[in-house]
């Protein structure tokens, strides 16, 4: 009962966005902007050519790149384990609506693009991505966009995610204690109120320090 009296310690937070591959290969060292641009070009090529053969070659290239950059292939391919239901449903849909040739093209295109994106996720820090967004937005200054404020909002988002994930988990436990675990309202209202509270506190803290951009 002693635990009741003192404030409960925070649960060790699940590292919500912590799925980085360990390593120091060339992909980890490459600037995030270059990786984003590379992924953009790859996606564009795959989407525009729509050839199963091209997709296959690019798929092999992705695996070679991952090996060369010492990203564990298991982490890259764990994507398949997480998405196999989605992929199975997609395959079924394709076999119902389309001929095998188109089905192969659609499935390989989606798979290749997701694998390439996964490689980027595994080797890039989220805060670097916010930096990329800030650089992309620099020309938009002319139309009144403030890149510094957007980057600040992005960093606030990253900071809030673990907190809000905890809040959601807590709301789920509270709802379960009341026998309402299937009640969407009981599970989301505490989360939403917590969200607004957290935003107002953050806003006040920023105002007090006069921070509007980073």
């Amino acid at each position: 009962m002693r635990a009741r009296r003192r404030p409960r310690p925070l649960r060790p937070r699940e590292q919500v966005l912590g799925r980085r591959a360990p390593g120091d290969g060339f992909l980890h060292a490459a600037p995030a902007g270059a990786k984003v641009a590379g992924l953009a070009i790859l996606t564009l090529v795959v989407v525009l050519t729509r050839e199963p053969l091209v997709n296959g070659i690019i798929g092999v290239l992705i695996l070679v790149t991952a090996t060369a950059a010492r990203v564990p292939l298991g982490m890259l391919l764990s994507l398949l384990r997480r998405l196999w239901v989605l992929l199975a449903v997609l395959a079924a849909v394709q076999l119902i609506f389309n001929d095998p040739q188109t089905a192969a093209e659609v499935l390989s295109r989606i798979l290749v693009c997701l694998l390439a994106a996964q490689l980027l996720l595994l080797s890039t820090e989220p805060t670097d991505v916010v930096g990329v967004l800030r650089r992309i937005l620099t020309p938009a200054r002319i139309i009144g966009v403030r890149p510094g404020a957007v980057a600040l909002a992005g960093l606030i988002m990253l900071r809030s995610i673990p907190y809000l994930a905890d809040r959601f988990h807590l709301a789920g436990q509270q709802a379960r204690a009341r026998g309402l675990e299937r009640d969407l309202r009981a599970r989301t209202v505490p989360l939403l109120l917590g969200t607004v509270d957290y935003a107002r506190d953050t806003g006040r803290a920023l105002s007090a320090r006069g921070i509007e951009e980073v």
Partner: protein, 206 residues
């Protein structure tokens, strides 16, 4: 750095500024983008699954519009989508990166900022004019309008292009999401009504 003000504000005005500060808006936009991300990452609710994962993601988008109004809602959903596409694993299934645009859910994803905008436009009008018991049903209408007018047409178009099926076939795949949408819109409207009662300054008194 902030520059010194020309003349100090009167005490009453300084204590309760008429307009919320820019920093407050930035914080609301950032944290609501985080809310959309968290709702997208939690395990999907057990409803049938047809190519596009059914998550609470659209609930977060509806809440952004209902609570923040059109422009800040648009900004929050836009920030979420753009950062997800640039390569932070915050999209459904912990995916992210531009490769997602080749997948079946690309249309839904790209629709989110506009959904929040449309929902927010209706919601702002409702919150400013109506109080009391009509508010929740009208906010439900706002959420469902955004969903019907923006999310589903974009989603159907996206599936049709990326899965190489006709619009008709994509439409039938999309029907699966309708019941969940009604449930989520109702939950969002109820929650948003509470927020506007608890914190009128967020949208009503702006």
């Amino acid at each position: 750095m902030s520059q010194p003000t020309v003349e100090p504000l009167p005490a009453a005005q300084a204590a309760r500024p008429r307009r919320q500060s820019r920093a407050q808006d930035t914080a609301l936009i950032g944290v609501f983008a985080g809310l959309i991300a968290v709702l997208a990452l939690v395990p999907p609710i057990p409803v049938g699954n047809f190519g596009v994962p059914i998550t609470l993601q659209t609930l977060g988008v509806a809440l952004a519009g209902l609570v923040l109004g059109p422009w800040r809602g648009f900004a929050a959903a836009g920030l979420y989508v753009v950062l997800g596409l640039l390569g932070i694993p915050i999209l459904a299934n912990f995916s992210g990166g531009l490769g997602v645009l080749a997948g079946p859910s690309a249309g839904y994803l790209l629709a989110f900022p506009l959904t929040a905008l449309v929902t927010g436009l209706v919601a702002r009008a409702v919150v400013r004019r109506k109080q009391g018991r009509w508010r929740a049903p009208l906010l439900f209408l706002a959420a469902i309008t955004g969903s019907i007018v923006v999310t589903h047409p974009f989603g159907i178009l996206g599936m049709s292009v990326n899965l190489e099926i006709s619009l008709r076939e994509a439409f039938f795949l999309d029907i699966v999401f309708w019941p969940g949408d009604v449930v989520k819109s109702a939950a969002a409207a109820a929650a948003a009504t509470l927020v506007h009662r608890a914190y009128p300054a967020v949208l009503a008194r702006r």
